[in-house]
C-alpha cells in the first residue's frame, strides 16, 4: 500500500463508483462481493426451493407418480446440497462480507483479492453442481452421499453416470471458496479492527463470524480429504470405501460427519450473531449477558467437533460410544439455552418495536426452540434408534435450518436492507410475508414429526396408503403453497423497495448501536471517511449516550492523506482460479486427463500471478 504524497500524485482520484457487468466481475470491494454472495445465494435458493416443491407434489398422495424414483433421488440430493452449500451458508457469508468490516470500522477486508477469488470459486462450484442436471443426471445418493452407493456402478442403478463426480468436484470448488473466505475473515477480524475495538467490545455478529471462520478452517479440510478419497475411488479405482478391496464404508460417514456437524454450526452461529444485533436495537437495551454470549459461542463451536457420531447411532458402534456421543450432544443444549434466555432477558424491560425484522426474530426464537427440543430427543441414542432416518429427523433439520438459520437471515435481511440499498422495505408487505411464511412453514414441517413417529422413513419417493400417512402428507403439501406465497411476497418486496422504497438515513432504526449505523446508507465505497475511534461496546450507542452521537475520528489513519482515502483497485485476476479449476473439473468428470493437468497448471500460474501482481490501489475523496 502506497502512503507517500508522491503516491497520491501518481494515481488519479476516482470517487465515482464504476458500474456495469465488468465492474462487478473485477470488484474487490467487500460490499459488492457481499451483494454478489447474497444475490447468487438467493438464485440458488430458488433452485433448491423448486426441487422441494416438486418433491412435495410427489408426496402429496400415496403411491403417486408425479416424478420417477430416479428423478426423486436426484431432487432430494440436490435440494440438500443446494440449500446447505449454495443457499444458507453463502447467505450467511454474504452478510458477513458486507457487515463485518463495517462493524469493526474497517475500509475493506484483509485480503480483498482472496475474498473475490473465494466468491468466484463458490459460484463455479454451484454452476458445476447444477450443470449436472443437463449433463446426464444430477447426483442421486443424498446430500451426505453415503458409501458404498456413492461408488456408482452396479450399486447405484439409475442415471448416475457422472452425477456423483459433479457432486465431488462441485463441492470441492465451492468448499475451497468457503475456506478462503474463512481465512480472510479470520485475518480481517483479528487485524483490521478500528482503534479502541478490543475483543470484548466487538459486536456479537463479529464474534460469531470469527468463530464461524474458525469452524470453517477446521471443518472443511476433513470434507476435502473425504471427497478426495472418493474421487480416487471413482476416478482411479482405489478402494478406500470399497469393501471388496479391503475398504471401509463407515470411513466415509466418520469423515463426513466430522465436517458435517460443525457445518450445522457454521450455518447457525452467524444467525445467532444477527439475532444478537437485532434484539438490542429494537428493544433499546444492550445485549443481556454479553460475556456469557461470547463464551457460549466459543463453547458451542468447541463442542461442535465432539458430537459427530450422533449421526451414526444405528451403524453399530456399540452402547459405550453411543452413550458418550449422546451425552456430549445433549450438553450442547446448555450454551444454546443460555443464548435463548439472554435474548429474552434483553427484550425484558425494553421498549420493543415489532417491525417485520423483530417479527422474524420472534419466529426464530420459537421455531429454533422447537428444533432444539427435537434435537435433544434425537440425542437420546435409544430414542434415536427409532427416530433416526425418519421424518422426525427431517422435521428437526428444517426447524433448525429454516426456523433457525433462515428466519434469522430474513430478520437480518429486513434489518440491513436499508443499509445496503439506502431504501426501506415495505412494512405492510413485510408483515404479509412474515405471517404467510410462519404459517406455511409450520403447516409444512410440524406434521413431519408425526409422520416420523408413524413410521415414515426419509428419502422415500412414495409411501403405501395403509400406514395412516395420507392426511398429514396432504397437509404438508398445502403448507408448501402458503410458504411459497410468503417467500414470493418477500421477493416482490425486495424488488419494489429496491426501486421505489422510502429513502433510508444513516440510522434508519434510530436506535442503531453498532458502527454500520454511523455511516451513510447505502455505504460509500470507502465505508468510513475517517476511521472511527471506538470508546465502548456498542460503539455508536456509546457516542449517543456519552458523546454527541457522532463517531470521533481515530488518529493516525494510515490510509488517509490530505482528504483522500487509499483503496485497493479492481482486477480480473481473482477470476483465474475459478475459471481454470472449473475447466479442470469438467476435464476430470469426462476423464480428459491432459486438459485436467493443463487446467491445474494454469490455476497455479494464475494464483502466482495474482499473488505477485502489485496493486497500486486508487485514491478516493470522500464527499
Amino acid at each position: 500500500m502506497q502512503t507517500t504524497p508522491e503516491g497520491i500524485a501518481a494515481v488519479p482520484s476516482r470517487s465515482l463508483r464504476p458500474a456495469g457487468i465488468w465492474s462487478w466481475l473485477t470488484t474487490v470491494d467487500h460490499k459488492r462481493i457481499g451483494i454478489l454472495y447474497l444475490v447468487t445465494a438467493m438464485i440458488f435458493f430458488l433452485f433448491g426451493g423448486t426441487e422441494a416443491f416438486i418433491m412435495r407434489l410427489q408426496l402429496m398422495r400415496p403411491d403417486n407418480h408425479v416424478v420417477t424414483e430416479a428423478l426423486f433421488d436426484q431432487l432430494f440430493t440436490m435440494h440438500g446440497v443446494t440449500m446447505i452449500f449454495l443457499a444458507i451458508m453463502p447467505l450467511q457469508i454474504g452478510y458477513m462480507n458486507y457487515i463485518v468490516p463495517l462493524q469493526i470500522g474497517a475500509r475493506d477486508v484483509a485480503f480483498p483479492r482472496l475474498n473475490a477469488a473465494g466468491f468466484w470459486l463458490f459460484l463455479a462450484g454451484g454452476i458445476v453442481l447444477n450443470s449436472s442436471w443437463l449433463l446426464g443426471g444430477a447426483p442421486n445418493a443424498g446430500w451426505y452421499n453415503y458409501a458404498p452407493i456413492n461408488l456408482g456402478g452396479v450399486l447405484n442403478p439409475g442415471p448416475d453416470v457422472h452425477g456423483i463426480d459433479f457432486y465431488i468436484l462441485g463441492i470441492q470448488l465451492a468448499g475451497l471458496g468457503t475456506l478462503l473466505g474463512g481465512i480472510n475473515f479470520l485475518a480481517t477480524i483479528i487485524n483490521l479492527r478500528a482503534p479502541g475495538m478490543t475483543p470484548m467490545r466487538m459486536p456479537l455478529f463479529v464474534w460469531t463470524s470469527l468463530i464461524t471462520s474458525v469452524l470453517i478452517l477446521f471443518a472443511f479440510p476433513p470434507l476435502t480429504a473425504n471427497l478426495g478419497l472418493l474421487m480416487f475411488d471413482r476416478l482411479f479405482h482405489t478402494g478406500f470405501f470399497n469393501v471388496a478391496k479391503g475398504g471401509n464404508v463407515l470411513l466415509w460417514q466418520q469423515l463426513f460427519w466430522i465436517f458435517g456437524h460443525p457445518e450445522v454450526y457454521i450455518m447457525i452461529l452467524p444467525a445467532f450473531g444477527m439475532i444478537s444485533e437485532i434484539v438490542p436495537t429494537f428493544s433499546g437495551k444492550p445485549l443481556f449477558g454479553y460475556s456469557s454470549m461470547v463464551f457460549a459461542t466459543i463453547v458451542i463451536a468447541f463442542m461442535a467437533f465432539m458430537v459427530w457420531s450422533h449421526h451414526m447411532f444405528t451403524v453399530g458402534m456399540g452402547p459405550l460410544i453411543n452413550s458418550i456421543f449422546a451425552a456430549t450432544s445433549m450438553a450442547i443444549a446448555v450454551p444454546t439455552g443460555v443464548k435463548i434466555f439472554n435474548w429474552i432477558a434483553t427484550m425484558a424491560g425494553g421498549r420493543i418495536r415489532f417491525t417485520t425484522t423483530m417479527l422474524f426474530v420472534v419466529g426464530f426464537l420459537v421455531s429454533f426452540v422447537i428444533g432444539g427440543m427435537s434435537g435433544v430427543i434425537l440425542a437420546a441414542a435409544p430414542a434415536d434408534y427409532q427416530l433416526n432416518g425418519s421424518y422426525f429427523l427431517v422435521a428437526h433439520i428444517h426447524y433448525v435450518l429454516i426456523g433457525g438459520s433462515l428466519f434469522a437471515i430474513l430478520a437480518g435481511t429486513h434489518y440491513w436492507f436499508p443499509k445496503i440499498t439506502g431504501r426501506m422495505l415495505s412494512e405492510r408487505r413485510g408483515r404479509w410475508s412474515f405471517w404467510l411464511v410462519i404459517i406455511g412453514f409450520n403447516a409444512t414441517f410440524f406434521p413431519m414429526h408425526f409422520l416420523g413417529l408413524y413410521g415414515m422413513p426419509r428419502r422415500v419417493a412414495t409411501y403405501p396408503p395403509n400406514l395412516g400417512l395420507n392426511t398429514l402428507n396432504m397437509l404438508e403439501t398445502l403448507g408448501v403453497f402458503v410458504l411459497t406465497a410468503g417467500l414470493l411476497i418477500l421477493l416482490f418486496n425486495l424488488r419494489t423497495s429496491l426501486l421505489r422504497g422510502a429513502p433510508a438515513g444513516a440510522d434508519p432504526w434510530e436506535d442503531g448501536r453498532t458502527l454500520e449505523w454511523a455511516i451513510p446508507s447505502p455505504v460509500p465505497e470507502y465505508n468510513f471517511a475517517r476511521v472511527p475511534l471506538v470508546r465502548g461496546r456498542d460503539a455508536l450507542w456509546t457516542e449517543k449516550m456519552y458523546g454527541d452521537g457522532r463517531m470521533l475520528p481515530a488518529d493516525p489513519d494510515p490510509a488517509f492523506h490530505d482528504g483522500s482515502i487509499h483503496l485497493p483497485s479492481s482486477t480480473w485476476l481473482p477470476l483465474i482460479p475459478a475459471i481454470t479449476l472449473t475447466a479442470t473439473v469438467y476435464a476430470a468428470v469426462y476423464r480428459v486427463w491432459p486438459l485436467a493437468v493443463l487446467g491445474i497448471l494454469c490455476a497455479f500460474c494464475g494464483v502466482f500471478r495474482l499473488m505477485y501482481d502489485p496493486d497500486p490501489g486508487h485514491w478516493v475523496t470522500p464527499d
Binding site: E69, A70, D73, G142, Y146, P148, I149, L155, P157, G158, V243, V249, L250, S283, G284, K285, G289, G316, P319, S323, A326, A327, M330, A333, V334, G337, V338, I340, N342, I344, A345, M347, A348, G349, R351, I352, F354, V362, L365, I370, M373, S374, I377, A379, A380, A381, P382, A383, Y385, Q386, L387, N388, G389, L453, Y454, G455, P457, R459, T462, G468
Partner: protein, 320 residues
C-alpha cells in the same frame, strides 16, 4: 404423552410399542418429550409475557434502563439445563446398554441380510431361508444378526423396535420381541438406491405352536410338482434358467442372486411386500419386474406364453 391414535390407523407407529425394545425406546422418547415440553414452556411463557408487557406503546416512551446482565439469572439458566441434561443422560445410557445386551443363550437366531431391494431372513438353527416375511414366536426375544449383500440398509420395524443398519463388511446384532401375535410392517430406513422406497417387509409374530408349524412346513416343503400343470411349470422354470438366480431346496436350482423360493407358497406377500402371493401378481412380476421395482436385477420374462406362465405360477404357488 402422544399416544393418541389407535394402532389400527397407524400400524407402524412408534407410539404404540408392541414389544420390549420398542417400549423401552418409546418410554425414553416420552420422558425426553415431557422434559423438553417443560423447557419449551419455560421459554415461550416468559417470551409471551415480555412481548406483551414491553411492547413500545408511545412515540415518546423514555429510554429503558440499560441493564447489561445479571449473574444470578445467568447462573440460573446455566445450572438448571445442566441438571435437566443429566436427568436425560442417565436413562439414555442405561437404555443404550440394555438394548445392546445379548438376547440370551436360548434366543432364536435370525440372520437378516439386506439386498437391493428386498430382505432375506435365514434361520441357521432351523435351516430355513426365506424373504419378505420374518416369522418369529411371540413373547420370546429373538437375536438378529444383520448383514448387507451390497450397500447400506437399515432394518426397521417401528412397532417392535428401533432400527439397526446393515453395513457391508460388518456384522451388527440387535434383539427384538413381539408381545403378541400379529403382523408388523417394516421398511428399509437408510437410502439404498433407486427403489429404496419399495424395500418393505413384514414381521409375522405367531404363537409358539403356530411358529413351529410354520417352521416345520418351511423345513419340509414340497419340492416336486404335484399336478400335471405344475410339472409343466417346473419344465418352464428349468427352460428359462430361473435356477441360475433362485434356490429351491431339494432341486438343482441353487442360484444365490435372488430370493430363495423354497416354500414360496407359504408366504402371503412377494417382491418386498409390493405384491400379494397369488398367481395374478406373480405373473405381473415375472412379466415385467422393473414396472414394480425399478432397477431390479430380475430380468423380464415377457417371452413366456400365457400357458407357460400359468404352469410356472402353478408350480411356484405349489411350493408349500
Amino acid at each position: 404423552m402422544l399416544a393418541l391414535s389407535a394402532c389400527t390407523v397407524h400400524p407402524a407407529s412408534i407410539l404404540h410399542p408392541q414389544g420390549a425394545a420398542a417400549r423401552m425406546e418409546y418410554q425414553l422418547f416420552d420422558f425426553s418429550l415431557v422434559v423438553m415440553t417443560g423447557v419449551f414452556l419455560s421459554v415461550v411463557i416468559p417470551l409471551t409475557y415480555v412481548i406483551v408487557r414491553y411492547r413500545k406503546r408511545s412515540a415518546d416512551q423514555p429510554l429503558p434502563r440499560q441493564v447489561e446482565g445479571s449473574h444470578r439469572l445467568e447462573i440460573l439458566w446455566t445450572v438448571v439445563p445442566v441438571i435437566l441434561v443429566i436427568a436425560l443422560a442417565v436413562p439414555t445410557v442405561g437404555d443404550a446398554f440394555r438394548l445392546a445386551a445379548p438376547a440370551g443363550p436360548n434366543a432364536l437366531q435370525i440372520t437378516v441380510i439386506g439386498h437391493q431391494w428386498w430382505w432375506e431372513f435365514r434361520y441357521p438353527g432351523l435351516g430355513i431361508v426365506t424373504a419378505d416375511e420374518m416369522h418369529l414366536p411371540a413373547g420370546q426375544r429373538v437375536e438378529l444378526t444383520l448383514q448387507s449383500a451390497d450397500v447400506l440398509h437399515s432394518f426397521w420395524v417401528p412397532s417392535l423396535g428401533g432400527k439397526e443398519d446393515t453395513v457391508p463388511g460388518q456384522t451388527n446384532t440387535m434383539w427384538l420381541e413381539a408381545d403378541r401375535p400379529g403382523t408388523y410392517p417394516g421398511q428399509c430406513a437408510e437410502f439404498c438406491g433407486l427403489s429404496h422406497s419399495l424395500m418393505r417387509f413384514y414381521v409375522v409374530a405367531q404363537t409358539p405352536s403356530a411358529f413351529h408349524t410354520w417352521a416345520h412346513g418351511m423345513r419340509h416343503p414340497a419340492t416336486t410338482p404335484r399336478t400335471p400343470l405344475a410339472t409343466q411349470g417346473l419344465a418352464v422354470f428349468n427352460q428359462f434358467g430361473c435356477g441360475g438366480c433362485h434356490t429351491i431346496d431339494g432341486t438343482p436350482a441353487q442360484g444365490k442372486v435372488g430370493p430363495n423360493l423354497t416354500g414360496l407358497g407359504n408366504r402371503s406377500v412377494i417382491v418386498a411386500g409390493a405384491l400379494q402371493n397369488n398367481a395374478a401378481d406373480l405373473t405381473q412380476w415375472i412379466h415385467d419386474p422393473t414396472a414394480i421395482i425399478p432397477g431390479t436385477v430380475m430380468p423380464a420374462f415377457s417371452g413366456l406364453s400365457p400357458q407357460q406362465m400359468t404352469a410356472l405360477t402353478a408350480y411356484l404357488e405349489g411350493l408349500k
